[in-house]
Symmetry: C2
């Protein structure tokens, strides 16, 4: 089975595996292998997964809905080591398994990406990055994104440097493009109702996660990400009804999880609320357009792209 | 009228006015005079009050319930200046007016007390303080507190250095002592139901404020505080029914407010949620004690003080 391991085609963040470099692998049968990170981080992440999986105070619904299932650790041959000496990997559910045309976004949550008791040089390094990116300002940053245009098949995957430089307006555009089909200016938000809206959509899932974060005092998730995943074809088939099946919202990257010690994770929760507001604004915009079109009995015209430039739609009167 | 101005008896944070130092003053008729802070801060705070007061997107209910009313600025004679040269003051409602025995707590909200675009030395200074105090860890810190024991009249007002050094457990104790009458170990929480609980209590008011912060993208309140106020005698009279009239929850200190630019104040919101959890835990504890006493048909015994040492009560089974 190990011979079938290969780098995931749809990876959007982190190091990529190659003939001479460690990186995540998938087996094509639903499992994801993540090499232990260097130093204490890898051990720390594996220990988190083991403890979290067994913790009696974590609601099973939260664990099942929002975290990849943990299948222990496993030694795999390491590339570029003499004789392929074994290297430990964390084995997880492949979160994108079963999606033929996966659209993925990796959003690192929290204005602050370092645990409070970190050594000063690490704080300085993280703080500089949090201030250069949108983390400090928005409470989150987009670390990676991959969008398949279901109609044409084209893939949009901006590289890391492109994402690093974006501001709040850029984040809004990325979050719109993530649910657009590539028609017009690529920001038609044609899939917003199906992916972000509806009962099983991203927004409803984020709100459920938020309710847990308002109460849970077990863990502080520094530098963790929320991964969104949906299938381009399934979303097109479901749109614009809303709430297509199979939209995935999962927490990943736990190398810097800290004990909560009876305090809520206000840093993660604040960033999560900010992300909810960004996505909620897009859903409200789209609903507003649909309402406006019904009211005026016409299809969206070029006035729409102007609308999308406004930034904060909530201040527009809803007819 | 200016001759009646005097330093507020119940001030718990900030510089105190004296014969040769500027500091806040009250007129005894409901107004509070805050000297403009040095540098750009004072001008910035006055400009914030003026803009906030007139902003059409601020709900009147939020402005009226949670912010001191702004009465413009006024020149008052400055102490220790030749001939008492006039110095500008911001004129506000005196938030403690009408409380004969005011109990006050000043809680600075936000893990991060500096706006993201601040110069590096200012960031370094604030960051050090945020990490030394509980700000980074809890998302807030208690800057000042004053509790009157309604039964004996004794006043507890820890000094600044005492509050600076406290940890999460210390914050829990201060928030308990704020609603205790000084019986037993001074942590009886006899007024928790009247002050924190009930319809008009602190918890309900904080939750209403939170709902606004989940939506508002107008302002980011760096380094602002929430001030709690209640009257010791009125609370004793109301306890343990819950929801005594006259519990006050107000935002103060706006020298570092930043434009929201369409983004929620995730830093303030996260800290506010953390404070809500701390206070909600105390309310739940007290309710649990009342329930337990009803169930076992006995009054609280010395087992109670043990209970208060547990920290996070929510994990105890509720009978």
């Amino acid at each position: 089975m190990a011979s079938d391991l290969r780098p995931p085609e749809h990876q959007v963040a982190g190091h990529r595996a190659s003939a001479d470099k460690l990186g995540p692998l998938v087996d094509g049968e639903g499992l994801f292998y993540k090499p232990l990170q260097a130093g204490e981080r890898g051990e720390h992440e594996a220990a988190f997964y083991a403890a979290f999986t067994a913790h009696p105070a974590v609601p099973p619904r939260v664990r099942g809905a929002f975290f990849p299932r943990f299948h222990g650790t496993r030694l795999l041959p390491a590339p570029a080591s003499p004789g392929g000496a074994p290297y430990p990997h964390i084995v997880l559910d492949d979160l994108l398994a079963g999606l033929p045309s996966p659209c993925v976004a990796d959003v690192k949550i929290g204005a602050c990406t370092w645990p409070p008791r970190s050594p000063d040089p690490y704080v300085a390094k993280c703080l500089a990055k949090d201030r250069e990116t949108t983390s400090a300002l928005l409470g989150f940053r987009v670390s990676g994104v991959r969008v398949v245009d279901a109609r044409g098949g084209a893939v949009w995957r901006p590289d890391r440097s492109e994402l690093k430089g974006i501001d709040a307006a850029g984040v809004r555009r990325v979050l719109r493009r993530y649910v657009s089909t590539g028609g017009g200016d690529g920001l038609d938000c044609a899939l917003a109702a199906a992916v972000y809206g509806g009962e099983g959509g991203v927004l409803a899932q984020l709100r459920e996660l938020k309710a847990w974060f308002e109460e849970q005092t077990l863990y502080h998730f520094y530098s963790a990400s929320i991964l969104f995943g949906y299938d381009a074809n399934a979303a097109v088939a479901a749109a614009p009804g809303g709430g297509s099946g199979g939209v995935r919202v999962k927490l990943v990257d736990f190398a810097h999880v800290d004990d909560g010690d009876g305090v809520i994770d206000h840093n993660f929760l604040g960033g999560l609320c900010s992300l909810i507001k960004f996505i909620g604004d897009i859903v409200a915009e789209v609903q507003h357009c649909v309402l406006a079109n019904v009211t005026h009995n016409k299809v969206p015209s070029n006035g729409e792209s102007q609308l999308f430039e406004r930034g904060n739609f909530t201040e527009l009167p809803v007819t």
